[in-house]
């Protein structure tokens, strides 16, 4: 057991820290700096910031060198994310899908031509990607995807609807999960297509979300013609590909999340100390001290879980049990955390934006916390996965309607 960083790793940390110091937008992180809030503001801001990262070679830090990435070791990725989080640097936004989902999926399953064509343009930010997974009737039951791709000569004809598609209205390309065979078991007839979002017949409609912003869209596909060469990997292998995603990406990202929460925790403590209740700061009320200390403990434990996950990946090439429970642990933790913050804000949380406490930050955080326990596999789905795959408990019976009585 050894939690120390090597001299090389420490040197790397100095390098990234210096770059962040020299490149963060002036005034970033200070109260005077107006951070972009609406989707459109964030879009403009993140295009500039992520381009800056890309030009300095930090965008594809986890990507292998042969694909133009930095080929960083796991520990270097962790250090990079830790330093970015510690500096409260803006999180990757517009290029998230390209760098973390579309790119790595293509590296694993794409043809050489596809890799050559698409990967460099993800890295240099000249093309933005979205991911077409969820549908109105394929949420937790993702394998129930109904968007159809039917072969017609050299083209697939795509019809259907996607939902919760982040960045769809600004994306150039879509990694689309669609049904290519309706005659087999539902998870055996799915394929990945690389779809040009500028094609005729694609209509993204922004979805206004709980915070009032529109970060994602519904996307309608009507007779969209996609060249056959845009199939990723083999036909009807989409479910397998979707499930071989990037467990290894989770270790570094998880630890970075942890540091972001540590930052939020400090902000929450600061608010608790200056918010007065019954004549004394909220932070001195036993009931609140208890919740604040609990939040602190839970955020720290996230770091310990992250260390265990990273160790499993380094030792065995994949996360162990701690990796399976990590998402459930931290997403439920975020919900409690935000409950506590908004409780501290008290009536200050009744008002919003500039009129509210801390510029409405805790209100937004509270609303957004539901995304953690719903998106990317809801807590209920996580519990199914943990009970079946980790604990080996039996799969439940499938519900079926009672047979209709004969009239």
């Amino acid at each position: 057991m050894d939690l120390a960083f090597s001299p090389e790793e420490t040197k790397f940390r100095g390098e990234i820290r210096a770059w962040i110091r020299d490149n963060l937008p002036a005034g970033w992180g200070t109260p005077a700096f107006k951070e972009p809030k609406t989707f459109d503001e964030r879009l403009v801001f993140s295009r500039a910031w992520e381009k800056q990262l890309a030009d300095a070679g930090w965008a594809g830090i986890s990507w292998p060198k042969e694909y133009g990435g930095r080929g960083a070791t796991l520990m270097e990725q962790i250090i990079f994310h830790e330093e970015m989080a510690a500096a409260r640097a803006p999180q990757i936004f517009i290029n998230f899908v390209g760098i973390n989902l579309a790119g790595p999926t293509m590296m694993a399953h794409g043809s050489e031509e596809q890799k050559k064509r698409y990967l460099p343009k993800i890295l240099d930010m000249s093309e933005v990607w979205c991911q077409g997974f969820s549908e109105p009737n394929a949420g937790s039951d993702l394998a129930n995807v109904q968007t159809k791709a039917v072969l017609d000569g050299d083209h697939f004809i795509v019809n259907g609807q996607k939902i919760w598609t982040s960045f769809a209205h600004v994306a150039d390309w879509c990694l689309l999960l669609c049904r290519t065979d309706s005659t087999v078991a539902k998870h055996k007839g799915l394929s990945y297509l690389l779809v040009d979002m500028h094609s005729e017949g694609i209509e993204p409609r922004p979805l206004k979300q709980i915070t009032g912003d529109a970060e994602f869209d519904e996307v309608f596909f009507t007779d969209v013609r996609v060249p056959r060469a845009q199939l990723l990997g083999e036909i009807n292998m989409g479910w397998t590909y979707a499930n071989t995603t990037l467990a290894n990406e989770r270790g570094p990202a998880f630890l970075a999340h942890q540091i972001r929460f540590r930052n939020s925790l400090q902000d929450m403590f600061a608010t608790a100390k200056r918010t007065i209740r019954d004549g004394v700061p909220v932070s001195e009320h036993p009931a609140f001290r208890e919740r604040l200390a609990k939040a602190y403990a839970e955020v720290e434990i996230m770091r310990y879980i992250g260390y265990r996950m990273v160790t499993s990946i380094l030792r065995n090439g994949r996360p162990g049990t701690e990796g399976s429970v990590a998402k459930l642990y931290w997403s439920e933790m975020v919900r409690r955390f935000q409950e506590t913050s908004i409780a501290i804000a008290g009536l200050g949380g009744v008002l919003d934006e500039e009129d509210g406490i801390d510029d409405g930050k805790w209100n937004r955080g509270f609303s957004m916390s539901f995304a953690q326990t719903i998106a990317a596999g809801s807590s209920e789905i996580q519990k199914n996965i943990i009970s079946e795959r980790v604990l080996g408990m039996p799969r439940g019976e499938v519900w079926s309607p009672k047979p209709k009585e004969k009239v």
């Binding site: 403590f269 100390k273 720290e300 879980i305 439940g396």
Partner: protein, 362 residues
Amino acid sequence: MDFDFSADQYGLRDEARRFLEKQSPMGYVREFLDDPSGWSRDLWKQMSELGWPALAFPEEYGGLGQGFLDLVLLLGELGRALAPVPFLSSVAMCGQIILAHGSEEQRARYLPGIASGDRIAAMALAEQPQGFGGGPIDMKPVRDGDSWRISGEKKYVLDAPAADMFVVAACTGDSNSWFVVEEGARVTPHTTYDPTRPIGTVTFENAPAEQLDAPSLHPGLQFATAALCAEMIGTAQRTLDMTVDYSKQREQFGRPIGSFQAIKHKCAEMATELEAARSAAFYACWAVATGAEDAALSTHIAKSYCSDQLAHLAGEGVQAHGGIAFTWEHDMHLYLKRAKTQQVLLGDGAFHRELIARIVGL
């Protein structure tokens, strides 16, 4: 970065599990339930022959030269088996306190007996049901030439009925420190909620007391707390294992109850609590063993989380079993009672959270 145990450490864990399954199955543990002073001298002797008590002490004190981290998984196995031996108290708590606080001469005097298993020490800390270790302790030793004498009562002393020496927290001036008492102590055993665990009140009557060299309760108390958390992980793991196994076998409505999401989700939540608790306990053990900057904080984090979450886990285990766990014959109640006792030993969740609040500047 390597935040996990070595192959050798896992090897010892496996060996310990095999040994305890054979030598201390639940039927054997149950032989000691009715005696408030009950513990297994025979099992203790066998463990001592295997060298377990000696493991984590330096060779010059009769030890095998390993460290505190080598005890962590072993403590878990003892907690898993509810083994009726005073290992946690004597070896992991008192032994580590003496190692951390004792002078060269004091270590040489006390540790060989603990390492060989010939002597058994118990840690005497609490005087009231709530809130020890935070402020000055009531017990005040008086000067006796170069040494000290102690009078008064220590309560809730784990393994006191098995002990022939005590490591006592007491206060001189306004600072707390550890004392070793070898004679002049009287033990009153109590009926305990967890019948696998003997607890006594220790009455000192002008007992000669040797003050350990480093005058503070820390880091000794941190070792004790981390060790207790390590034991708790094993107890909780067995509780979860029993619950999952039972839910796969027990059928209602024509199918195993473990196929119902009501039970599956409960077990998944238990597994998640346990993994988080395990991470916290292991981190605290690492931090204490290496003297890390956040050693104190990490023990409060670990104990607060383990206390509440693992007691909750035990309750959920009983609930998932249903009526069978309500019987004396079934072992679940012993795991529940162990968890409830562990929850409050060395401070409950709220106690440790208040200490977290102070350390982080709230």
